[in-house]
Each structure stands twice: as C-alpha cells, then as structure tokens.
C-alpha cells in the first residue's frame, strides 16, 4: 500500500484509486488521467494538431493561411518573416500553409488506419481468436505469424511501389462507371493503399494481446453465467467481453497512432507514399533534408521536423500516462 500511495499524483485520493469512488472504471481512469499535468498538456497538443489538420480547408478558404500551391518564384527560400512565419520553400510556396495541409494528411491517414487496422482487424480478430478457439484461433494466429515474420517496412514499400498503378486504374474505372469526378485527382487511391497496407501489418500485435486477455476472461464465472442464461455468442463477445478489454484497446490505440504517423513519414520519404503536390510531413522533410539545403535553410526542416517531433513526444507521453492509468496491473 505504501508504494501505491507514493505513486499518487497530487490531487488523487487513496479512496479513488482503491475503487471507492463512484462511476465506471473507464470513467474513473479518464478522471485520473486528466489530473496528470503531462497527460493534459500532451492531449492539448494532439488536439491542437488534429484541429489544425481538420480545419485546413477552412483556414485556406478564409485566407488565414495562404494557398499551399501558390508559387512565388521571386520569394523562394526566404527565411521566416511576418508574411511567411515558417519561410518559403524552393518554389516560393508558403511553408506554414504546407505544414497545415500536411497535418491534414497525417490526420486522414492515422484516423483511417486506426479504424480499419486498429479497431476492426485487431479487436475483431483478437476477440474471435480468443473466444472461439479451435481451428479459427489457429488459423488467425498463423496468419498473424505470416505478417509478423515479413519485414514490415520492406513490404510496405513493395506494396506501395507495385500496387499503386493497379489501385489507381481501379479508381479510374470506378470514376468512369459512377460518374463521380475527381476520385483519382483527390489522391484517394493513394490514401486507400497506404492505410490498407498499414492496417494489414498493424493488427497482429493488438490482436495477440486481446486474444490472451479473452483466453483468461472466457473461463470466468460471469461468462459462464451469461452463457447459461442463454446469451448468444455475439452478445457474450460484445456485451460481456469487449468492455473488459476496452482499457487495453484504448492504450494500444494511443500507442498505435504514433506508429502509423511514423510509417506514413517513412513511406512518403521513400517516395512511395503520399504523392505531390499534396503536402505531407514525409515529403516536406524529404525535400529539405539534404545537407546543402539544410546548411543554408535550416528553418525549412526545423519547423515541420519540430512539429512532428512534438506530436510523437505528445503521443509517447500520453501513451505512458494511459498505460499507468488504464492498466494498473500491467506495470
């Protein structure tokens, strides 16, 4: 008990930690999270970043930021100034506007991948594998082995390098067939390929953790009770088992977001991810990371690099705090 008391952050009472406070466990954990300064600062930073990404079109339309595609060759490679707070790139484009639009790319890729790979695949397959067992379990876990044993980055680059034309031509067919214009121009096929590939390789870890939890949970009395009362398998899975692993899901999602954002960076850096003229952090960093450019125009890498580092730092700190708060036993 003495050690646990020492771990309390200021403002937490022992009663709350030991479970005497009212409310659901998740609600309590969130309240404890919000009492940690580091977690709140990280959350604020992440929230501000996502807000910046989501409002990029609005900021552009209201001319708060400049047009990210507008080239001003008389003012290329200028340092930070009042009109261009982050300076201008080699084509005289406003770097601030490009950073804002790049954050939109990050928002789309992380959220979309999280919902396909993180939630649907990892949670769904983890639940299924752990609860149903038998050959279903074996099959899912062995498929997981295949994905885990493949060198991830190599595979991601390979998939994006070889399948891009295929996916684009399918998108072009869809566009012609349905008459919806601009599918290919919007860059949607690139996004779909990137988060498809990321999801494919991202679910294994999460599914394994959830499976191992379900394996022990399904032997507990409350599951037996539910089953004896005539609950169907989906009811047991989603009403009884899912809420019990929700804490693990929350933690692994918060850790997963940083990983997804990082993979986008790597893919685009290698030229197989998001394609120009659409800005993304991978492209912004790649354009300015040659030593000669860096020597003369360090600000070009400093601002996007700094923001990405800040985002990863916030994700890491938040993930740490979440692990502490949501899975007390795991420490």
């Amino acid at each position: 008990m003495a050690r646990e008391a020492a771990e309390l952050t200021p403002g937490e009472s022992i009663a709350e930690v030991s479970g005497a406070a009212s409310g659901s466990p998740t609600g309590m954990a969130i309240r404890r999270l919000l009492r940690r300064k580091v977690a709140v600062i990280s959350l604020t930073f992440i929230f501000a970043f996502y807000l910046m990404g989501l409002t990029a079109p609005l900021l552009g339309a209201t001319h708060v930021i400049q047009d990210y595609q507008h080239q001003d060759l008389d003012h290329d490679l200028e340092g930070p100034s009042w009109s261009h707070p982050f300076g201008t790139d080699r084509l005289g484009r406003d770097q601030l506007a490009r950073v804002v639009w790049a954050s939109q790319t990050t928002v789309i890729v992380t959220v979309a991948t999280l919902f396909t790979g993180g939630v649907v695949l990892a949670v769904g397959l983890g639940l299924l594998s752990g609860y149903v067992g038998g050959w279903v379990d074996t099959l899912i876990m062995r498929i997981g082995d295949v994905f885990a044993s493949l060198p991830t980055i190599l595979m991601l680059i390979l998939i994006n390098a070889t399948l891009k034309t295929q996916v684009r031509s399918i998108a072009a067919d869809v566009q012609d067939f349905t008459g919806i214009g601009g599918i290919v121009r919007s860059g949607a096929p690139d996004y779909i390929l990137i988060f498809g590939a990321l999801s494919l390789f991202g679910w294994v870890g999460g599914a394994r953790v959830i499976r191992s939890q379900i394996l022990s949970l399904r032997e507990t009395e409350f599951v037996t009770a539910a089953r004896s009362l005539g609950a169907t398998t989906p009811q047991i899975l989603f009403r009884h088992l899912l809420p019990n692993v929700s804490n693990i899901i929350i933690v692994s999602l918060s850790l997963g977001l940083a990983g997804i954002a990082g993979s986008e960076l790597v893919l685009t850096w290698f030229g197989v991810g998001i394609q120009p003229p659409r800005p993304s952090f991978g492209a912004l960093i790649f354009d300015t990371s040659s030593i000669r450019t860096l020597n003369q125009h360090a600000y070009l890498l400093l601002f996007p690099g700094g923001i990405v580092t800040g985002l990863f730092f916030a994700f890491n700190l938040l993930g740490d705090a979440m692990t502490d708060v949501f899975t007390p036993k795991a420490r």
């Binding site: 493949l150 060198p151 190599l154 595979m155 070889t162 399948l163 360090a298 690099g305 580092t309």
Partner: protein, 335 residues
C-alpha cells in the same frame, strides 16, 4: 525435455514450412505485379522491344507466375540457390546479400550494445529515484530523443558534426580492404564500424532506442523492488549495491531477455532510412534499391532470409524461456 514441451515444439516446427510457403509466394507475386520488370528498368529509355523479349525469354520472365515460382523454389530448396541479381549484372544474390548483412550487423551490434547498457542503467536509475523529480526528467528526456524521427535527426547531426565541425565524414563506408570469408562467398570489407564513418550512424541508432529499454527496465525493477525477498535482503544488512545487483536486477532482467533475443535478429536487418541518409551499403539500402530496380531475386532473398530468421528465433525464444523461467509450461492448447 518433457513431452508437453516436445509436442509443443513439434507443432511449432510443423507450421514453419506452410508459413514460409505463404511468405515466399506472397512476396514473389507482389514483386511481379508492379509496373515494369527488371529488364525494362535496366535498359532504361533505349529499349528495343525485340531485345527485351529475348532477354525476358532467356530469364524465364515470360512464363506464368506460378511456373516462375516453381522454378525459383526448386532452385532454392535443391541447390540453396538464391538466384541472380539483375541490377548487379550476373552476380549471385548470395554474394550481395551476405556482405550487406555483415555491414548492417556491425553498426547494429555496436548500437544495440550501447542502447541496452544505457537503457538498463537509465531504467534502474529512474526506478531508484521514483517519487523525485529525477525520475520523470530522466525518462522524459529519453522519450524526447526517441520522438525525433530519424529523417529529421540524422540530417541535423550530419550538419553539425560533419559540415560545421568537420569531425566526421558526411557519409559512406570504408572499402579499402577486403577479407574473404570463404564459406559464405563474396568479399567482405574490413570491420567498417571501427572507422569514423560509423560514428553518426551508431549514435543515431542507439540514442532513440534507449527510452524503450529504460521504460521497460524501470517498470520491471519497480515490480521486483516491492517483493518480500528484497525487503528480507535489506533486513539482513547486505549492501544496497548487492541488493540491487543480486536480488533486484537478476529478476527484473528476466523479461528483458526476450526483448534482447528479438533485437538480435534485428541486427541483420538494416535500417532503411539511416542507411540511405548516411550511405552505408547495408541490407536496408540494398532492399530499397532492389525494389526500385525490381531486382526480383534480391527482394526474395532479403524477405526469405529475414522471415526464416524471425520464425526460427521466436520458436527458439519460446523454448529458451522455459529453461530461464521454469514456471512457464506449454499446455496442450497454447499456440
């Protein structure tokens, strides 16, 4: 070895061939789906359709994919033939991939040693200082360094130490001497990690990962420090140093052994971005180049060698773990 463990091991080993079959088939097909093939990329713009067809036919690239796959696997399984590179004309893949691995392994091994020792030291320090400001400061600084992406950090390191201060060369790898390790084939450079060129890559690889090891060590150490036997050890009056090394660390480092084993496979895999930024001719750069030039056999070799190492190591770790920690038993339905 008890029978439960033996049957577990047998079941795991039986799964290896099917998994490797899927891994190789998927990679083989995926590489061939893309636009262009090694022949058209190698010839560039000056292409004569007739010559292209003739070369494709000679290399068997005009056959259906499953037939090509059969030919490849037959060569691999009967003769251990990893194929021939297109980009490095006519050279055996074996002579390219193993020297590259040898280079990647050098700087990886040095970096991993630094990372693990600094990480464990950091974790133990933070655990001992729990409740004071030094704990969050130490872990927080390590986390901050971890958050800098390689492609942002390395250019700045190169700018400062190579360009401004001139202490180290900006990129490259020494190639002025050759040693032959006959049984693997190919020529091996001298130990390049001892040269100045390796300093930045090693630092760039070692520093960010310290946070990972530091955090795990801290968590495991805290877990062990509250055990009764630690209190007993203190009560019988042995020195704090002995308590930490003999009672706390020995138990706290047990879970870390798995992580160390998995990191050891990582040694043979190059770091993609780092090798491209610093010009190390290792596996990471080789892999990226081979995808760019559709060097089919090279892509296959890198994947097959990597996947085999990974699968065998994870089985080995499972087995080794039962000896390290006798509490673990593999029942009839774990797997």
């Amino acid at each position: 070895m008890d029978s439960a463990l033996a049957s577990y091991l047998l079941r795991r080993l039986l799964w290896v061939p099917p998994i490797l079959f899927i891994v190789t088939f998927v990679t083989f097909t995926l590489a061939r789906l893309g636009p262009g093939d090694p022949v058209s990329i190698a010839t560039g713009q000056f292409r004569d359709p007739e010559v292209l067809e003739r070369v494709r036919h000679a290399k068997g690239l005009d056959k259906p994919i499953h037939e090509q796959y059969y030919i490849y696997m037959k060569g691999l399984l009967t003769r251990g033939d990893l194929g021939e590179s297109y980009r490095y004309k006519g050279r055996n893949v074996k002579d390219i991939i193993f020297p590259a691995m040898y280079r990647s392994a050098q700087y990886n091994a040095v970096a991993l040693t630094i990372t693990i020792s600094c990480g464990i030291a950091l974790g133990v320090f933070a655990a001992r200082k729990q409740g004071t400001w030094s704990d969050p400061t130490a872990i927080g600084s390590a986390l901050a360094i971890q958050s800098i992406p390689t492609m942002v950090g390395v250019p700045f390191l190169l700018l400062i130490f190579a360009l401004k201060l001139g202490w180290v060369p900006a990129s490259g790898w020494p190639r002025d001497c050759n040693v032959s390790l006959g049984f693997l084939g190919g020529n091996y450079d001298c130990i390049g990690v001892l040269s100045k060129e390796a300093i930045i890559p090693v630092i760039a690889l070692a520093l960010p990962a310290i946070a990972v090891w530091g955090r795990y060590t801290r968590a495991f150490t805290l877990e062990v420090m509250k055990e009764d036997y630690v209190r007993t050890a203190r009560a019988k009056g042995i020195s704090e140093f002995q308590v930490m090394t003999q009672h706390v660390l020995r138990n706290a480092l047990l879970p870390l052994s798995t992580m160390i084993a998995f990191s050891l496979i990582g040694i043979l895999e190059g770091s993609f971005i780092l090798e491209n930024l610093t010009g190390i001719p290792g596996v990471g750069r080789l892999a990226f180049e081979s995808i760019g030039s559709r060097d089919y056999d090279l892509i296959m070799a890198i994947t097959v060698v990597g996947a085999t190492l990974f699968i065998m190591t994870s089985i080995f770790i499972d087995i080794a773990y039962t000896f390290i920690d006798p509490r673990i038993r593999y029942g009839s339905r774990s797997g």
